[in-house]
Symmetry: D2
Subunit: 482 residues, 4 copies
């Protein structure tokens, strides 16, 4: 089973019967029919269907080097700039199907696994490291189009500088035992997006471990014994695409992952009990370069969608003549084209790493990753400022089929749109900027790669400033004009 279709995805997940809790109840029956997951699983299914469509198959899949079958393009280990461009085409094709709303479309995690496998030599010969397991897992995932989520953040108990956990019972997930079969994990990790609706979950420690906790990395099936996914409140507004054009389709859910003495079999352990590797593997691997490439490509599609919404509002109520409206739309244009330039440069200036894989320029992507968390909230602010009272005048679709149909048609018409079309646009604008779903998207973009202040510190620390200081030095020491 190489590249799969939607039904295969849905069927496989339903059969797992993963332990997922929503609003105090375990999900029973098919998870794909549960109101909290129905829409997003269908949307995810559509992505899988799309990759097999005749017209797009060549862009969405490639021939497996192992089996010769067509596998998902997101698994491709790029060796040329053309490969990178192929990857980006695939990413943006998929992103267009969700307008960039699905932060965890399958290409994201596939890319992560591909990056791990491409940097696996870092683990060679290191204590408690199993590079062969990484490679095997990557091949397994590729050949079966396995869907994956991941989790690496510890619960947010105390975020002060020098806090280290010293509870008796683990809070953050820890190895509590090793035995013949594998290692045993107890504790929790937070915020596995799509937790419970993927085949597998990749679990790893974030960098910055203290002495006691030695770190680990592994992947296990979502239905592993003792594994539990606890959902936040669902932000699906309802099933109607008229009323909730986004949340009815793309609400991915975020989950707390509880490990109740979960056994991770040895063949699935990538490394453990090696804090040096745990603290450095992510940073030294191509994880950042490839994952940022996926994220930036997706964000561009999302920004294009935002720009389309903004211009639709402008046209609908005919406000394009105001200078301040033009300025606000121009802000989004500037943001979009800036992101596009950064992605372009990152690809064109890609360099092969020591293992021959073509990494997009990481610094340039880091710039994009510093910028976007500040851009996106402003986008939603602009939508609010332009939509104004129109974003409060939003009766539901049912209303348009009821006794007040005529009233709505008369009183909600726009300058260039009939009432119903106008309402679709404003409800979309509302769903992206003002619904619980939209606000969660904003938070998600703010923090995708971590705290914005930390991102800035990292950029400053890693950037080579010496040439510029030298340039000032030599300027100050040139002969005066004489």
């Amino acid at each position: 089973m190489p590249a799969i279709n939607g039904d295969q995805y849905i069927d496989r997940i339903d059969r797992l019967k993963t332990n997922v809790w929503v609003d105090g109840n375990p999900v029973e029956g098919k998870i794909s029919e549960h109101p909290a997951f129905k829409g997003v699983m269908k949307s995810q299914g559509r992505l899988y269907d799309f990759q097999l469509e005749e017209a797009f198959k060549h862009e969405m899949t490639y021939q497996s080097p192992l089996t010769g079958k067509q596998v998902g393009m997101s698994y491709l280990q790029p060796k040329t700039i053309e490969d990178l461009v192929s990857r980006r085409t695939m990413i943006q094709n998929w992103a267009k199907l969700s307008n960039g709303m699905m932060g965890r479309s399958p290409d994201y995690m596939n890319t992560v696994i591909m990056a791990f496998a491409s940097s696996v030599d870092l683990l060679n010969g290191k204590e408690n490291c199993f590079p062969e397991n990484v490679t095997k897992f990557y091949e397994y995932a590729r050949e079966h189009d396995v869907s994956i989520t991941h989790t690496f953040i510890d619960p947010q108990v105390d975020r002060s500088h020098y806090h280290f956990e010293h509870a008796e019972e683990p809070i953050a997930a820890k190895v509590i035992e090793r035995n013949d079969e594998g290692i045993v994990i107890k504790g929790a990790k937070v915020l596995a997006t799509q937790g419970g609706i993927t085949d597998e979950i990749l679990v790893l420690s974030a960098a910055g471990l203290d002495g006691k906790d030695k770190g680990f990395s592994f992947s296990i099936p979502s239905n592993s014994k003792g594994l539990k996914f606890i959902c936040r409140e669902s932000f699906v507004g309802g099933e109607s695409a008229f009323d909730h054009p986004l949340s009815s389709r793309f609400e991915e859910m975020d989950t707390i992952v509880v490990f109740d003495s979960v056994l991770v079999p040895w063949e699935r352990v990538f490394y453990f009990n090696n804090s040096e590797i745990s603290n450095t593997f992510m940073a030294n691997s191509s994880f950042s370069a490839f994952s940022m490439h996926q994220v930036v490509a997706r964000r561009i599609v999302k920004t294009e969608f935002i720009l389309g919404i903004v211009q639709s509002i402008i046209e609908t109520i005919n406000i394009g003549g105001y200078q301040h409206v033009q300025e606000k739309a121009a802000e989004i244009i500037v943001a979009l084209e800036t992101m596009k330039a950064l992605l372009f440069k990152a690809e064109m200036e890609a360099r092969a790493d020591e293992w021959g894989y073509m990494r997009p320029d990481q610094l340039t992507l880091q710039i994009a990753s510093n910028l976007f968390p500040k851009m996106y909230p402003r986008f939603t602010e602009i939508i609010q400022l332009l939509g104004a009272s129109g974003l409060m005048t939003i009766p539901t679709g049912t209303s348009f089929q009821s006794g007040i149909k005529k009233d709505l048609e008369q009183y909600l018409q726009g300058a260039s749109r009939k009432a119903e079309d106008r309402m679709k646009i404003f409800r979309l604008a509302w769903d992206i900027s003002m619904s619980s779903f939209g606000a969660r998207e904003t938070l998600y973009e703010r923090f995708f790669f971590g705290d914005p202040i930390r991102l800035a510190s990292q950029l400053y620390s890693s950037y080579d400033l010496k040439p510029y200081v030298n340039c000032v030095d030599s300027y100050l020491n040139i002969d005066p004009l004489s």
Copy 2:
């Protein structure tokens, strides 16, 4: 029936059987039991109850000059600064019961009616003006503690500069007939907040009429024949105060108001067919001064609540040691104290108008009204930046009563709070900054007094700049030092 209690309010509204449409269906049965209105009507009821509580009665009511009975303090026509302070005490007492979340607690509209009545002499002897009707309506409202909403914005069809409606069928509400009984209105007005859950609705034309439309102002019972309230989607997240601590209580609803040939009896017409009056009455009356006084007082209470939430987050996850966290909290402190200073000065520098009513200083309140729409969205941004992933880790209250109770208690604990208390705080933070309800509050504060850019233009146009220009002039013409 002077100052009423909650049951009286609810009972009276239920008996009106106003024509209210929610999600394509007319409300049937008691509106106070409808899920979209239940919470807010109970909260509004609590306000009425509160005014009769022995401990607060003296702050919340005063003796009617007409009947000697206790009537709501919001009806008081202030003649001294002490009166203004009494009014503010009443406003903030009520605001504290909703943490400032109810933009249309009864004192708002009571204040508006009081301001109209206090400026009624502007209508004396003017064509098609009925000052005596204003006075009578004010007294009627005061003596019966009538709840009121208002509406004055025309539907947002085309907002370009020189657009004037020329549809055959009216879109914006218009007088289509006058007869012995009164005037007849056809068309719509938008955004009556609390539309359908008040006794009366005050309808008036916004300033800036063109030649054809001559303007009007009147008040009619919500259940007038031909009057219809069309609701937007409800933002009540649910009934649980744990899960939706704000929307379960304070979702006021916004409505489109449709006039299907509604007869306004002569005794309820304040003015009509007089565009000069219609364009100037609001501006020349004490409407701005008194309504801004109410709004600023309420917004201060809301800001205090925000500050409490922010500090609760900081303490819960122990992030108070970070300089950037301190800076963000300090921003809110600065905003709060600035608003307090402006309100204080506006009261202390109040001046009696030509009819002897003590108006708070309008300019100073205008400053506050220019500032707050920029402050409030930043508050919610700060909550998001500090709450971070904690705002996505929000299982429902039901979860705490279920089989995963122990997991939640262990993994969601905060540095200084048990998991359940921590969850209450984060759900509150989420409800104010990220739920559909919270986002609507943000939009509401952005646009309370209109488009922020227009507010700035008005301020510039009305401010006396001459003294400062003169000061520059005379400086430029002093003798040089010699």
Copy 3:
């Protein structure tokens, strides 16, 4: 010699023959005739003249409780709110003479000395403290209208967190000896504004001393033996008031103060070798409350002047019809009225301290002090954005008396001004926002009370947040609606 006039001031300073270095040369001859000091000393002289003018004497002076003679109002120890208002009137009268450009008009330091004297009991009975010297110095200063500057910042060598000086030769000024006559100081302090053109210099340690350095506070005459003032480059653009309407008059100069084994006689030592007192006296005294009162009052006058300049530009080139111009001017109006409200509240809510002196509300002034450093740079940015190319088209005054006079009159005319008047306005706008003098004013306002980030931290740390947290707590624990 109680309240003095300008000649007395200038004469006294000239006679001191203080050791002042400008551009590598010691000032010789009368300092009041040196190009770097001529303008500002004349301007300062005008302030002294003004206080004796018949029309303003009653506002600018009061009767000394000691001698019955008229002494400067800035020495008044306020015991009532009326006293505070009198002080503010005096401050703003003087500020208007320099449009708020002189950060160190005499009232600033007079206020500081008055505050010290009013809190002197804090030194009673403390080791190495001499409260009687403070009192005597205050009386001496008041009765002789002594001009003073101060210095307390250590040279900016290394500003990292845990840096403490360990040089063999002192860098930061230190007590290197105590003997019968007094204490001996060696090292430097930075940034005595007006250093060298005042009678006295108050020297003190900033808070935050480490173990070794024990702190001190004293005042000595500017011409004390071993004392040296090293000036930065002068920002006087020239003598012409047409060309440099501000810098020709108000360039106060900033100096490094070098102590080359300077003896401070015992009667002038206020405290030394007591790090507890040194770290707390400023904070516990009324220094902050009274100095912020002076500074905020002056900044309001400065803001009014900025607003006058902005509106003069707008009128001159007729750009008042643009919405974005209105918005920018409105920003300044909002800032001005906000500052006025904060000052007003601080005065009205003043409370007597434990010694009976009426302190304006410190918190409210702190808010103003947090706001202004962000406002002021924006003011100058607005001037640049509105003035645009007009700020580069600025020929000198001499040009208007030359062979190109007619060209200038024709080509530099404004919509509402003749060329010469227009040029005066634009040169003034340039001098406040773009000359070296103007830029230094901006830096000065940014850092008047220290680093803006530190100001925010202090505000957060000192503000009582408990009531707001409690309010959230009790809200979360009220009974649900039922």
Copy 4:
């Protein structure tokens, strides 16, 4: 005389004896020895010298297609992307010699003339257009390395929307006569930077002419009869490179250009009396694409210099450990890399225009041109915020050679620098962010391509938004999930 050296430039300009007025006096004698021009002419001379240096000649010149001699690379009409890269290398080589401070290094105007010549076919067969004159002038300039300035803005008399000049005497320069020899011009244009120190001046009408004024374009020698350059005040701080490391070298001067019945001979008229051409030639030519390419390339060098200064400050006083300092430096890094990505993309996506010249992507450069005017003022703000009091503690170089040398060496040392080196850095930081020269640089960057608000409007108006609106449309019309 193809590519010239510095002496040739200086000598040629000196010989022109152009009519230049400074501070009310005409320049007499050699202009290259006048204090206002000495430094910048020497710096410009160095640029010319540099292009002939053996090591750089191949990057700075190319073989003339006409004469086979080496001519300046800035005249190259690019036909390939490699040509564009060559042009950029030349631009940045020169820019590094002034750290990007010379907005009008010769490559700027050479590029403009090259762009005109490359688009000259637009004038073919049009009334009153002389394309052959453009071509001849371009070749003349290229083969003689002619230095040029330009001017096109009308005096800023009244900038309201609908103002058109109706003075009897022309204010804005106009054609007042045509005769056998040519056209005669009377009136003024503003802001020729480097006016008076170039061989030629290109004069043209800005777009947006009303009916009466028909527009023109021509180039004439700076010493043409009746032509006068009126300087603003000079911002040369002095001759010392220690004290004024930038203004002593790079103060380019801005001038008002007065045409006192200046005859433009026919062979130098490019077009006149054709408002259609006048309103469209600039926009349709490659002017924008090529001039923005030059400007963006220069601005990148300037930003690198700023970054070097910022990091030098950070190291000197050892503040790199503070998170807010890291954030501020990171802001500049983000800005720099963003500009670099935009330039890179503009080059890589260049397309040949209809005449075969390779235009860099104009939209992408427009984005950079919208961004930089907001970035640059923030850079100077960051320098002020980090430099703090250090930017006021700036004695002159002479001081370091005087009796206070030892004091300065002791008290002005930095954590990682000796006092004198530290002072060089801080004086440089001051000169770029706080001197009159630095402030003029800021204004210059704010307005290089015009009012930032107009730039945003232009971007909005010219950007193709349809694809994004269509994408929203089709999304709203897809089948619901089912």
